[in-house]
Subunit: 257 residues, 2 copies
Amino acid sequence: MATCQCKKDIRETRVARPQRSEEITKQIIDLIVDRQLPTGAPMPTELSLAEDIGVSRNSIREAVKALQALGIVEVRHGYGTFVGSAGSEALQTWLLFRTRSRGSTDAGRLRDLLEVREMIETELTSRVARDHRPELIGELQACVARMRRKGPDAAVADREFHDLICAEAGFDLARELTGLFWDVYRAAEGEMGGPVSSAPATAKRHQAIVDALVSGDAAAAAHAVHRHFDEVRKRAKAGRYGGFGEARPAVSGSAAS
Amino acid sequence: MATCQCKKDIRETRVARPQRSEEITKQIIDLIVDRQLPTGAPMPTELSLAEDIGVSRNSIREAVKALQALGIVEVRHGYGTFVGSAGSEALQTWLLFRTRSRGSTDAGRLRDLLEVREMIETELTSRVARDHRPELIGELQACVARMRRKGPDAAVADREFHDLICAEAGFDLARELTGLFWDVYRAAEGEMGGPVSSAPATAKRHQAIVDALVSGDAAAAAHAVHRHFDEVRKRAKAGRYGGFGEARPAVSGSAAS
DNA sequence: AGAAGTAGGACGTGGGACGTCCTATGACTT
DNA sequence: AAGTCATAGGACGTCCCACGTCCTACTTCT
């Protein structure tokens, strides 16, 4: 029916105390860590866990559900529960919700997402500019070429482009996070009805990044990335969802002398 | 008893198919989004949800548990379920697990954490250097002064220092992420038995950042942050847990010409 | 030996019961 | 009349048990 018939309000009093369920969750994690179970290793049965920990299967299941939501365990119906990889996919739900629930106004919901991506990718690209495999350039060029052709593949190429650079730097966490941000941005943008990108402009910005990488100039690379994000911001601003918040003017010439 | 008595292996075949439970989770999220329930708003009763969605309370509870793990809802025993803030605290479990389970070897488990923090804070500090409240400097100086005195408060001051800068930039997500990384790094470091920081050196590095902010030089600020992280890395390397992976030499002079 | 059938294990879902915790209401006291 | 205390009801927490579904591994048949 209605949300709630009682007089409850948004009062934030009395934070939730540590629950029994949380304790179970912790015990399960400790079990994984103590036994050094690698990703993919089979976990004890729900019934075993229930007996070992001394709670009902129901409680175990709820704890497992929480762990599953974080990607810490992976459950396969009829087969068993396994140690998960805790990959960034688990955070998609979290970040997507956060993105579309925060900021009651339409303005600037995606800004934060884009900013963090820009910060990470700027630094990452600078580092890659200093040191990378020679083959990387060719791979990036191929992506840019695909971007020039309109269609759904252009977006895929865009993602691959950024992922290639992030992967090159060798920091898994950074790579996964930028991928996550890309996916969530795309999802939120689509939901709010953002504008389609113009293929030529997008390809041009990416080409500039490749050129900077070829030259090996870290500052130029950072500059190119900033300009790429300026482009994205401009696109977003023109979208149906009212533009960004303009908390601070976007800086494009940061690392360029 | 043992982890599992059957012959299961690490086989990664057959990814888990979409579950009914996941569907329920999605419906609950949609309910929040559709009704535009703000953070802190009361959710329908578990029983109501069960009737509305047409499943048992058990299933609802499991879905809620998953949402709770992500901070999307907050449950208060005996009172009700409320819309959560999806704050970064929810990710602590995830990131901590990820940090201590990845990389079977001792070397370089914390590296990724530190690198991402460095990337975000470098960019953030650069921006703050260009534009910030005058009062910020005094607040930062106070933190540095507290850092000079040994004791548990030094660590608190350290965290506050970084949080002040991140908050100044105005990007909530970036701020929360760096805070999260700081907390997880600290927790993981403590667990592995890292070395204690030397108060004078730490304060000195932070002072350098403040000086750069005062001068308003973005490049100098970035440089100071890089040097600060070089210091942290050096400290970590000397710790009991075997040092980092050295995937790529740390770059300290990136934005400095 | 290879393929189909089968038994058992493990997770998924449902329903009910009872305990615990919290709040709001009303009675009582001052 | 105002404040305090007791109480009733609502809502979440935990548990038990049953049955369905899914998957694997073993057995059996060809």
